[in-house]
């Protein structure tokens, strides 16, 4: 039970990262390599607000969300939009990696190199859950991630904004003909991804400690989860995150911790080879769809 919750809690962070990466890549076709750095920034800003300005967890998180949204918008304006047609060039690979290095170093200068303790939600209170001792914070991680995932899917499926996001993802030029400002939709997606980044950062920081390197390995696993789900498939990416967390948690019972981190990449490579479109493209998920529906 403990392993299950632990796996799901870690998975919730991978899921949130993969979801945010998916939000951006579904509408722009790009992969935000700087996302992990924004997650880190979100955590660091939360920490700063709590330690330096004495805010409590939630208000600090709101400041971090605002900062991460701004960061992501600035990143879009400077690293992505200026490049013009993203189908024609891959300059964004360089600019976004660059942005990630810049963010990491800014964080190092501002906050120092020492990993900082970060408070748990509910002061680290433990609860007994099906006979196991579980930290309430971990249950909150899972709950918050699931709520965000469900809310996002509902927005995407049911609302006018969501219809427009899917339209821009599928045919940006035709969307313009409908009167949708593709650019505005893309900006909203970057902003939403920023908000999700800050939340993920503040949730994982108590476990990893807050530091400029806190998302180095988690970040890569977020990408692994995104690959698992299929880039641009936000639902798949989200589920991919949880699956990855679970697999890791259970495999770590049998293998030494050092090898644990490579597991996600072995899984990622296997998925890329056998299901290049992501796990959601597996037959199992598409039994009831006709070929045309998979366009």
């Amino acid at each position: 039970m403990q392993q299950l919750i632990f796996g799901l809690a870690n998975g919730s962070i991978y899921a949130l990262m993969a979801l945010a990466i998916g939000m951006v890549s579904s509408t722009t076709g790009i992969v935000n390599f700087a996302h992990a750095s924004v997650v880190m920034m979100g955590a660091m800003v939360s920490w700063w607000m709590m330690v330096i300005y004495g805010l409590s967890y939630i208000p600090a998180l709101f400041v971090a969300i605002a900062v991460s949204i701004v960061l992501n918008i600035v990143m879009y304006e400077t690293c992505v939009k200026k490049l013009g047609d993203l189908q024609d060039n891959v300059g964004w690979i360089i600019t976004l990696f660059g942005a990630s290095i810049i963010l990491d170093n800014i964080a190092r200068m501002l906050f120092g190199t020492e990993p900082q303790a970060f408070p748990y939600l509910f002061g680290g209170k433990m609860v007994t859950f099906f006979g196991a001792n579980i930290m309430l914070h971990e249950l909150m991680m899972i709950t918050i991630a699931v709520v965000i995932g469900v809310v996002y899917q509902t927005i995407i499926k049911k609302t006018r904004f969501g219809r427009a996001v899917r339209a821009v993802a599928f045919r940006p030029a035709t969307s313009e003909l409908m009167g949708i400002k593709s650019e505005k939709i893309i900006l909203s997606c970057f902003a939403m991804a920023g908000a999700v980044a800050a939340i993920g950062g503040a949730l994982i920081a108590p476990i990893t400690f807050a530091s400029y390197t806190m998302t180095y390995s988690i970040g890569l696993k977020g990408f692994a989860a995104a690959v698992l789900g299929g880039f641009g498939n936000t639902k798949g990416a989200f589920i991919g995150g949880f699956i990855l967390g679970l697999i890791e948690a259970f495999i770590s019972i049998f293998v030494p911790a050092g090898i644990k981190d490579s597991i996600s990449f072995v899984i990622m490579i296997i998925v890329i080879i056998f299901l290049p479109e992501g796990i959601m493209s597996a037959k199992f998920f598409n039994r009831n769809l006709s070929a045309a529906e998979k366009v």
Binding site: F170, R171, E176, L177, M178, A292, V295
Partner: protein, 235 residues
């Protein structure tokens, strides 16, 4: 209604449309005939704001719209039915229609329009919960037109509406366009072969490699042997 004056359009440094001028009078149907690659889509995309012209001007209802953004043009009453229909294949039929009404904020107006469209296109009503990609070519063309009509445009522009459709379906499409014309909508359309288009047109232009080489009424076109040979299959 629409006055295009000396329009020059380029992709990068390559100029593909050269000083093209034409007029579309209110309530009329105007056809531009031209072979593949002549620059028809380029001109239409420029009118609706998807592409910037290099020189020249576009006037709509007397107003300069040369640099106006696509969403503003939709609100002003110009709609393009793009080449190849470009249905949102993963959206349902109803969602496609709602996307067509994206700039309309009044829910009741959207509902009324939708009902009108369903009256006119019972097939779309039957299939409103299906995703766009499952429709046949003809149904997709109907959906593309219905989607454009969702904002009640004054000027409907169609890029090769007969492309890839069986002759019998093409007849339906042009019958529909005649009906739309009768509701007072001005129509500009481009085609490679203009047999059907000409039968509903008041005026026609011929575009060759980015230049207008001929303009005239329906009868003037039919009396020009060269044009008949190049752009009419069987009249």
């Amino acid at each position: 209604m629409l006055k295009v004056d000396s329009l020059t359009i380029a992709y990068g440094k390559t100029e593909v449309v050269h000083h093209v001028s034409f007029d579309v009078k209110k309530g009329s149907v105007v056809t531009i005939a031209g072979a593949n690659g002549a620059g028809k889509s380029t001109i239409l995309n420029t009118i609706v704001g998807l592409h910037r012209s290099k020189e020249g001007s576009i006037l709509y209802k007397g107003e300069d719209i040369t640099r106006t953004a696509p969403d503003r043009l939709v609100s002003k009453g110009i709609r393009l039915v793009p080449e190849g229909r470009q249905i949102f294949a993963e959206h349902t039929v109803e969602e496609n229609m709602l996307l067509g009404a994206y700039v309309e904020k009044d829910a009741k107006k959207i509902r009324d329009r939708m009902d009108q469209m369903y009256d006119r296109f019972p097939r779309l009503k039957e299939r409103r919960k299906q995703i766009g990609g499952t429709l046949s070519g003809g149904e997709q063309q109907m959906l593309a037109i219905a989607r454009a009509l969702m904002t009640g445009p004054d000027l409907l522009i169609l890029d090769e509406p007969s492309l890839g459709l069986a002759p019998i379906i093409v007849k339906d499409v042009f019958k529909l366009l005649t009906e739309i014309k009768q509701t007072g909508v001005t129509i500009l359309l481009v085609e490679q072969m203009v047999d059907n288009a000409l039968s509903i047109s008041d005026y026609a232009y011929v575009l060759e490699t980015g230049n207008i080489v001929f303009s005239g009424t329906k009868d003037e076109v039919k009396n020009s042997d060269d044009i008949v040979k190049a752009y009419l299959g069987n009249v």
